[in-house]
C-alpha cells in the first residue's frame, strides 16, 4: 500500500508512506521535523559532510505537492535545524513562487533569525477538530496532532528478526508524525493501549500494525 485512509474525529485523513498526512476537508498537507539546513549547519561548523545530500527534502516535497495539489501546508515544527544558512535559500524562493499558504508551528530547533514573509508562524493553533503543536500537548481533551518525537517502531519476527522503521503513532487523543527530513534520528514507540494505531513506513509502502 502507498497510503492508508483513516478517520480521526470524523475527518478523513490520508497517511502517506512518504511521511506526511493529507487532510482532505481542508486540502492541507501536514508534515513535521524537516530540519532544513542541518547538513549545511554541520559543514559550517567544520564537519565535512557531502553537500549534495541536502537537496533531497525539497525535491520530494515539490513532487508531493504537484501530486496532491494542496491549498495549505502545515509544518509542525523544526522546519529549520538552526540559524539561517545558504541551504534555506532554495526553500525561501520556493515559498515565494507558489500560491500555497504555508503555516509553521515554531519548534525547539526553529531559531527563525531570518524573516520569512510567506510563512505564518504560530506557537500552536486550533483548527477544529484538531489542536496542532510541535510538542505533544493535551488541551481540553482536543485531539492533538504533533511532531518532535521522530517515532519509529521495532518490528520483530520469527527467527529473531528485527526491523526498525519510522512510523505514525496514534495513541488515545493524539497523533505523532514521523520526521519528514532525510537526515534525522528517531525514538522507538510501542503499542500501549488497545485502541492505539501504528502505521510503519518503508521506502515504498505503508503498513498497519495489528494491535
Amino acid at each position: 500500500m502507498k497510503t492508508i485512509e483513516h478517520n480521526i474525529e470524523n475527518q478523513k485523513i490520508i497517511f502517506d508512506y512518504r511521511k506526511f498526512l493529507f487532510w482532505e476537508k481542508e486540502s492541507a498537507l501536514i508534515l513535521s521535523d524537516v530540519h532544513v539546513g542541518k547538513i549545511t549547519h554541520f559543514i559550517k561548523n567544520g564537519i565535512p559532510l557531502p553537500e549534495n545530500s541536502s537537496f533531497s527534502n525539497l525535491k520530494l516535497l515539490k513532487s508531493i505537492i504537484s501530486e496532491y495539489q494542496p491549498q495549505k501546508v502545515f509544518f509542525l515544527g523544526d522546519l529549520f535545524h538552526s540559524n539561517y544558512n545558504s541551504e534555506w535559500d532554495e526553500w525561501l524562493s520556493f515559498f515565494k513562487n507558489t500560491s500555497i499558504r504555508f503555516t509553521l508551528i515554531k519548534g525547539n530547533h526553529d531559531q527563525l533569525n531570518h524573516r520569512i514573509e510567506q510563512l505564518n508562524i504560530y506557537k500552536e493553533f486550533f483548527l477544529p477538530p484538531f489542536h496542532f503543536s510541535h510538542f505533544p500537548e493535551l488541551v481540553d481533551g482536543k485531539f492533538n496532532i504533533h511532531g518532535h518525537i521522530h517515532p519509529a517502531y521495532k518490528l520483530t519476527g520469527k527467527g529473531k528478526q528485527v526491523l526498525k522503521l519510522p512510523c505514525f503513532h496514534i495513541c488515545k487523543n493524539s497523533l505523532t508524525l514521523p520526521s519528514f527530513g532525510a537526515f534525522t534520528g528517531n525514538h522507538f514507540v510501542r503499542l500501549e493501549n488497545t485502541n492505539d494505531q501504528i502505521f510503519i513506513l518503508s521506502k515504498n509502502q505503508i503498513f498497519k500494525i495489528k494491535s
Binding site: K38, I39, T40, H41, F42, I43, K44, N45, G46, I47, P48, L49, P50, E51, N52, S53, H81, S82, N85, S86, H109, L155, T156, G157, K158, G159, K160, Q161, V162, L163, L165, F183, T184, G185, I200, S202, K203, N204, Q205, F207, I209, K210
Partner: protein, 808 residues
C-alpha cells in the same frame, strides 16, 4: 667498569641488587646513542634498564633545563608507580632532577605550573602528549628533548593509540632527529615488528637494537572446576553459582586477585563473594575502569601495602603496577588469549625466580576444554602477535588538526615525516591530498564548500586553525578510545563515585536502584550529565553493564582448543579435563563430537525458529565473518532471512524456515575464491562496517560528542554515526573515512588471512550433518547469545508483510 656503571651498580649494591644482563646491555646501548626495544616482563626491573643511562648525561643539569625525557604509559594508573620508582633513584643519588605527570587526572594547579615549566622527566599518555602538541609553544617546550620511552608498548601497538603514538613521536623527531626512542614490551609474537613499528620503517640501518631479558617464569595453571560436570552450567559467562569452589582458595591465601572478563561480571562476583564469605567485609575491594580515580588509587595502594585480602578486578589491573604481596590469582571464565593469561598469572609470585600460580574457574562446561588448552600454551610459552594498524585516516586527520590548532603546519614537511612512520609509510599522494582538502575545504571537489570552516591556509602556505571554537572543540575530543557517552555518578554531597554509560542509565528511572562498585545506589536525580545518587540499603538492583567489545580467541588458542576437542573422542583423557566426560557423553548422545577430519553441522527446531549450527572452532572473529559469508552464499540460492550469532566455537544461522543442508552443500559453500567479493557483498548488507564507522567518525571529528560533563551539549551539532554512514553511502561513497570503515572490517575484524586458511581446512574435512531433536551442549552457548546480526535476500517489503502476519 665505566664511571656510569660504577655509579649505578654502586647504588644497586646498597639495595642488594645486582644488574641483570639485559639491564647492562640496555645501558650500553642507550649511552652509545641507540634506539630500540627492551623485552622484559613487569617486575624485572625494566624501568632501571632505561632510566639511569637517560639521566646520566643530565645529572648535573640545573632546574632551568627543560624537559629532556618523555615517558609514555598506556594507563594513567601506572604513572604514579613509575614516578615513585624514578624519584627513589633520583633522591638516593642526590640528583637535582624533577619528575612530573601529565595526564587526564592532572589537577589544574599542576597544569598551570607546567605551563610555565615542564619537569625534566614528563610521564604522560598518548592522548595527553597529543594534547600538548596541540597547545601553543610546544615546539619551544620540547626543544631540549633527548629521549622518548614508550612503556608497555605491547598494549598500544595493536590499537589506534599505537598510531597516535607513532605520529606524536614522528613530530618530536622532526624537531630534533637525534632524539632516541625506546620501547618496553612484554613478550608478544612479533617483537621485531613491534620494534620497527615504534621506530619507524625508514632508516632501517640506523642504530637500533632489540634487547631481551632471559627472565623465565614458571607458571602453573590449576583448574578449580567442580568434580562433577552435572554442577556445571551449559551456558552463560557469569558462573556465580560456582562460588563455593573459590572459597577454599581465598581462605588459604594471604591475598587473592580475582580477574573477571567484564565490568558487570566483576560487580556481580564481588556481591556473591561478600555474601558467601561475610568476614571479608572491609578486607575486599573492587577495581575496574569505570570506578572513580580516587577509589582506584586507594585500591592499588592498599594492595601494595598488603591491606586487602581480596580484590575483584577486570583487565584494569592487567598492566604493570607492582603488587609484591599477591599470593593467588584466580581467572574466572576463559581469558581468550594466552598472552593475557600469562600476564595475569604474572601478578603473583612477582619476585624473579618465584613460581606463579593461577587458578582457572570455567564458567560453563565447554570452557573446561579451554583450561586444558591454556595449560599447554603456557608450558610451550607461545604468545600471540599484535597486529599494528596502518593508514588510519581518522587518526591522521585528528593529528593534523592538533598541529593546525597549535602552531600550524606546512604540508610538505609533515608528509615527509609521517611517511617515516610505519602507519603511513604507504600513504599515496592522492590520499594525502584528499586529507588536506578534507580539513581545509571540506570536500574532494574543486569547489570549496559553502561556508566550511576548519583549517585555513595562510598566505605563507601555513595550515592553521583560526577559529577558537573549532580549536576548543578539537582539544576536547583528542583521543582514539571511543566509548559510549559517559555520565558522572555522584553522591548528593558531591563525592564522585565513577562513570556510567548513558544508554544504561537511560533505561533507569528516578528512585530505581543499581549496583556499582559493590554498593547499591538509588537514583536521586539525573541532570547535566551527572547522576546524583544516594546509598541504598536495598539488596537488589540492576547490575551496571557496559558496551565493550567482546574478545576473540587468537588463532593459536583456537588450534589448541580444536586439538583438545578431538581428544574428547579419545579414551585417554588427562586429569584436568576429566569432568568433561559427562559433557562429552551427552554431546555424543544427542549429536556427535567431530574428529580431526570432520566438520560438524547441527540442525534443530525450537519455538524461535530453525537453528543451523556450524562448528569450525576458529574463534569469534573468524566465525563472525564465516557466518556472514555462508549466510550470504545461501541467500543467493533462494530468498531467505537469517539472524546470525557466533562465539569462539561456532556460529548459528537462525531462520524462519527449515534449511536443508544437503541441498545447499553442493554449491561450493566453503570455496575460498571470490572470498573478497562475497564478503564485501555480505558486509554491505550488514552492520559490521557501520560499527567500525562509529569510531572513525568520532576520532576524525565528524561526530561531536559534546563538552564532557558540561551543561551545554551542543545538541544541534550532534548526530548518530548511523545517519552519517547513510549520508556517505548515498552521496559520497569515495570518502576515505567511509572506505576506511570497510578496510578495517576486513583487516582487523574479519581477519581475511585467517579466514582463508580456515576455509581451506574446512574444504578438506568431511561434513557431518546431524538433525537433532533438541539443542546439544555445544550449541547452547551460541543459541542463547543475544548479540545478533541479520542478513537477508528477501524483498524488504515482503519481509515486513511476513513479519506482520505474526502479529495477528
Amino acid at each position: 667498569m665505566s664511571d656510569f656503571e660504577s655509579w649505578v651498580t654502586n647504588w644497586m649494591g646498597k639495595k642488594n641488587w645486582k644488574p641483570q644482563k639485559f639491564q647492562s646491555d640496555t645501558w650500553k646501548a642507550v649511552l652509545s646513542g641507540y634506539s630500540g626495544l627492551v623485552n622484559a616482563p613487569t617486575g624485572s626491573g625494566k624501568t632501571l634498564s632505561l632510566l639511569p643511562p637517560i639521566l646520566w648525561p643530565n645529572k648535573d643539569c640545573s632546574l632551568k633545563t627543560n624537559v629532556f625525557c618523555i615517558w609514555i604509559t598506556p594507563l594513567r594508573s601506572l604513572s604514579q608507580q613509575i614516578r615513585i620508582s624514578m624519584e627513589e633513584f633520583i633522591d638516593e643519588n642526590n640528583l637535582n632532577l624533577t619528575v612530573g605527570i601529565r595526564n587526564g587526572d592532572t589537577p589544574q594547579k599542576i597544569r598551570n605550573l607546567q605551563r610555565k615549566k615542564f619537569p625534566h622527566i614528563l610521564i604522560t599518555t598518548p592522548e595527553s602528549l597529543q594534547l600538548l602538541i596541540s597547545s601553543k609553544d610546544w615546539v619551544k617546550k620540547f626543544s631540549s628533548l633527548q629521549a622518548v620511552v614508550v612503556d608497555e608498548w605491547h598494549e598500544l601497538i595493536g590499537s589506534k593509540r599505537g598510531v597516535q603514538t607513532e605520529l606524536c613521536i614522528a613530530a618530536l623527531q622532526n624537531l630534533n632527529s637525534k632524539i632516541s626512542i625506546w620501547g618496553i614490551s612484554a613478550t608478544i609474537g612479533n617483537l621485531k615488528e613491534a620494534m620497527s613499528v615504534l621506530l619507524g620503517d625508514l632508516n632501517k640501518n640506523e642504530k637500533r637494537v632489540l634487547i631481551q631479558s632471559n627472565f623465565k617464569k614458571k607458571i602453573t595453571v590449576q583448574s578449580i572446576a567442580p568434580k562433577e560436570i552435572k554442577q556445571m552450567p551449559w551456558r552463560g559467562h557469569l558462573g556465580t553459582n560456582l562460588i563455593r569452589y573459590l572459597t577454599p582458595v581465598i581462605n588459604k591465601s594471604q591475598s587473592t586477585l580475582i580477574f573477571t572478563n567484564t565490568r558487570s561480571q566483576c560487580e556481580l562476583w564481588y556481591q556473591k563473594i561478600l555474601a558467601e564469605i561475610p568476614e571479608l567485609a572491609g578486607n575486599m575491594a573492587m577495581h575496574h575502569g569505570s570506578i572513580s580515580k580516587e577509589i582506584r588509587i586507594w585500591v592499588e595502594d592498599s594492595l601494595r601495602n598488603n591491606q586487602l585480602k581480596v580484590v575483584v578486578c577486570t583487565s584494569s589491573l592487567d598492566l604493570g603496577v607492582d603488587f609484591h604481596p599477591v599470593e593467588s590469582i584466580i581467572q574466572i571464565g576463559g581469558p581468550k588469549g594466552v598472552a593475557r593469561f600469562i600476564q595475569r598469572a604474572g601478578r603473583s609470585g612477582h619476585q624473579p625466580n618465584k613460581e606463579s600460580k593461577i587458578y582457572f574457574l570455567p564458567t560453563h562446561a565447554i570452557e573446561l576444554i579451554e583450561c586444558s588448552a591454556l595449560n599447554k600454551a603456557v608450558q610451550q610459552e607461545y604468545v600471540e602477535q599484535r597486529k599494528p594498524y596502518i593508514l588510519c585516516f581518522d587518526v591522521l586527520i585528528q593529528f593534523l588538526i592538533s598541529l593546525a590548532v597549535s602552531e600550524g603546519f606546512y604540508p610538505n614537511n609533515v608528509l615527509n615525516y609521517i611517511k617515516k612512520t610505519h602507519a603511513f609509510s604507504l600513504i599515496t599522494l592522492q590520499e594525502w591530498e584528499w586529507v588536506l582538502k578534507n580539513i581545509t575545504i571540506g570536500s574532494n571537489s574543486l569547489k570549496a564548500y559553502n561556508e566550511y570552516k576548519k583549517v585555513d591556509i595562510l598566505e605563507s602556505g601555513l595550515f592553521k586553525v583560526n577559529s577558537r571554537l573549532i580549536a576548543m572543540r578539537h582539544r576536547l575530543q583528542i583521543g582514539t578510545i571511543v566509548s559510549d557517552e559517559q555520565l558522572q555518578i555522584k553522591l548528593i554531597n558531591g563525592k564522585r563515585i565513577g562513570v556510567i554509560e548513558e544508554w544504561f542509565i537511560s533505561k533507569l528511572k528516578k528512585g530505581e536502584v543499581f549496583l556499582f562498585g559493590g554498593q547499591f545506589y538509588k537514583i536521586f536525580q539525573i541532570k547535566n550529565m551527572e547522576v546524583l545518587v544516594k546509598k541504598s540499603k536495598s539488596k537488589k538492583g540492576k547490575v551496571v553493564s557496559w558496551m565493550g567489545g567482546r574478545m576473540s580467541f587468537s588463532s593459536y588458542m583456537s588450534e589448541l582448543l580444536r586439538n583438545e576437542l578431538y581428544e574428547l573422542n579419545n579414551p585417554q583423557l588427562n586429569k584436568d579435563i576429566s569432568p568433561l566426560n559427562y559433557l562429552a557423553k551427552i554431546q555424543l548422545q544427542i549429536s556427535t563430537i567431530p574428529k580431526e577430519n570432520e566438520f560438524l553441522i547441527e540442525s534443530f527446531e525450537t519455538k524461535e525458529g530453525f537453528h543451523t549450527i556450524f562448528y569450525p572452532f576458529e574463534g569469534r572473529f573468524v566465525h563472525e565473518a564465516l557466518s556472514h559469508l555462508i549466510a550470504y552464499r545461501i541467500s543467493l540460492l533462494k530468498p531467505v532471512t537469517f539472524s546470525l550469532a557466533y562465539n569462539d566455537y561456532g556460529f548459528e544461522l537462525l531462520s524462519d524456515e527449515f534449511l536443508n543442508i544437503e541441498n545447499i552443500l553442493d554449491n561450493n559453500l566453503w570455496n575460498e575464491s571470490y572470498l573478497f567479493e562475497d564478503l564485501n557483498q555480505s558486509i554491505n548488507t550488514s552492520e559490521m562496517a557501520r560499527r567500525k564507522f562509529r569510531d572513525i567518525a568520532v576520532i576524525s571529528g565528524l561526530i561531536f560528542t559534546g563538552m564532557p560533563n558540561k551543561r551545554k551539549k551542543n545538541k544541534d551539532l550532534q548526530s548518530g554515526s548511523q545517519l552519517l554512514f547513510d549520508v556517505f553511502r548515498d552521496y559520497e561513497p569515495e570518502n576515505l573515512l567511509f572506505k576506511q570503515s570497510f578496510s578495517e572490517t576486513f583487516e582487523y575484524q574479519l581477519e581475511e588471512g585467517r579466514l582463508r586458511k580456515a576455509l581451506i581446512r574446512i574444504q578438506k574435512q568431511k561434513l557431518i550433518w546431524k538433525k537433532i531433536s533438541k539443542p546439544s551442549p555445544f550449541s547452547f552457548p551460541i543459541i542463547t547469545d543475544r548479540l545478533r546480526e541479520s542478513l537477508s535476500s528477501e524483498q524488504f517489503d515482503d519481509r515486513i508483510s511476513k513479519m506482520l502476519n505474526n502479529y495477528s
